[in-house]
């Protein structure tokens, strides 16, 4: 991989802010971004990509190409948690395997956003429908995870409450806000975006940088837990994302996705959830250890993707698409 791509990625304020946050914890500085400020930033980012994605979608329209991308997204969102589960079962009990598989089957919006910002600094772009794809990819892993659970776990005391599971999967706050603002952006089109752009467009990169400072702090706090995670899961937290990204690249090439879309798609597949899925797992699979799935997602996979994964996936795609 070109060293310059790596540098180009790292020497970006958002990524450096993430490292600054990490360093703050490692150097024990007591820097913190108290609640609910992180919530403000994450809400802002979700609304911003929702509105912008909807606006882009209103320009492009919902074409056959768009539907193709959405179908691929659904495919990967279903496949990843299944094969992840069987890999994890090699070493883990059913409960933890389910929770981790669901975590990696879903996506991380902030990883997606950071990748978009990276693409942007290279002067390239992606379709607004990728945000729709992302929204679609958040939920299936939760359902798949719980299907796995009811198939393989010997929990006889209580059945899965499927109504609750579907609510958790499709009406959790992240999915709801993304879906909702996507629709608002779509409905209000050019005129709506012009009114929202000063807050939700122009300020976007700065807000991302601010938020990544917090992500660095939160990831840093979890780093102490990594040793408890064990070598197998550490390797899993790095290799599975790379593997997922490569499968995505293959699919994207096969089905003729545009370069920017292929890149964003591979990043989505490589990323792991740290908000929606952990909340759902805590509720539906209390037997699983949240220290495992949260630590892996936040302290291993997220930093890996931000620092190395993004330029790596781009490098591969750049070579294939030219």
């Amino acid at each position: 991989m070109g060293i310059d791509l790596l540098l180009q990625n790292i020497l970006n304020p958002p990524v450096l802010m993430f490292l600054l946050g990490l360093g703050a914890v490692l150097l024990r500085t007591e820097l913190e971004i108290p609640q609910p400020l992180p919530k403000l930033f994450s809400l802002y980012l979700l609304i911003a990509i929702g509105l912008h994605g909807g606006y882009e979608l209103s320009k492009s329209g919902i074409t056959a190409d768009v539907l193709k991308v959405l179908l691929l997204a659904m495919l990967m969102a279903t496949a990843v948690p299944i094969y992840a589960f069987f890999i994890l079962r090699l070493k883990l009990d059913v409960y933890n395997a389910v929770a981790i598989a669901a975590t990696y089957g879903s996506i991380s919006a902030v990883t997606f956003i950071t990748a978009g910002s990276f693409l942007n600094t290279l002067g390239q772009s992606y379709g607004g429908y990728m945000v729709a794809a992302m929204t679609l990819m958040e939920s299936p892993a939760i359902i798949i995870g719980l299907v796995m659970l009811s198939l393989f776990a010997k929990r006889n005391n209580e059945g899965v409450n499927w109504a609750e599971v579907f609510r958790e999967a499709f009406l959790n706050p992240s999915v709801y806000i993304l879906m909702g603002t996507l629709i608002i952006g779509f409905l209000t089109g050019e005129k709506g975006w012009k009114a929202m752009d000063p807050l939700f467009g122009v300020l976007f990169k700065g807000m991302l940088a601010f938020f990544l400072l917090d992500m660095g702090i939160v990831a840093g706090r979890r780093i102490g837990e990594i040793k408890k995670v064990g070598v197998f899961l550490i390797a899993f937290g790095i290799l599975l994302p790379v593997f997922n990204a490569m499968v995505a690249v293959l699919l994207a090439k096969t089905f003729g996705l545009a370069k920017g879309d292929a890149f964003m798609f591979s990043v989505l597949c490589a990323s792991a959830s740290y908000i929606a899925v952990p909340a759902a797992m805590r509720l539906s699979v209390p037997e699983a250890n949240p220290s495992l799935y949260v630590t892996m997602s936040l302290a291993i996979t997220f930093p890996f993707n931000i620092a190395v994964g993004i330029p790596l996936y781009y490098f591969v795609i750049n070579n294939l698409w030219g």
Binding site: S42, V218, I275, L283, P286, V294, L298
Partner: protein, 97 residues
């Protein structure tokens, strides 16, 4: 001045509503909740500052009659056992208005 029991519960915030349902079902006259308290116990540190909403406790207390307190404690036990938490009972005098 009525001698009553004060029942205090610390529970993972994700399960707050489930705990409150148990209180309501037992017909307590009221309760008070403090959200997002920190804590440490068997299950490690609940730092109450995560992005993920996964490591947060809530603190609940209710003032009620002795039998109710015992009954609620018994009913909330399986939940606390499964998801973590603590439940204590003490003597108080309620100054009714």
């Amino acid at each position: 001045m009525k001698p009553m029991k004060k029942l205090e519960i610390v529970v993972d915030s994700v399960y707050l509503n489930r705990a409150l349902e148990i209180l309501e079902k037992n017909g307590v006259s009221g309760y008070t909740v403090i959200r997002d308290v920190l804590g440490k116990g068997e299950r490690g540190l609940m730092a109450a500052d995560e992005l993920t909403d996964v490591f947060k406790n809530s603190y609940i207390f209710t003032v009620c009659e002795e039998e109710k307190a015992q009954k609620i404690a018994r009913e909330i036990n399986p939940l606390l056992k499964k998801v973590g938490g603590i439940c204590i009972i003490s003597d108080v005098v309620w100054v009714p208005h």
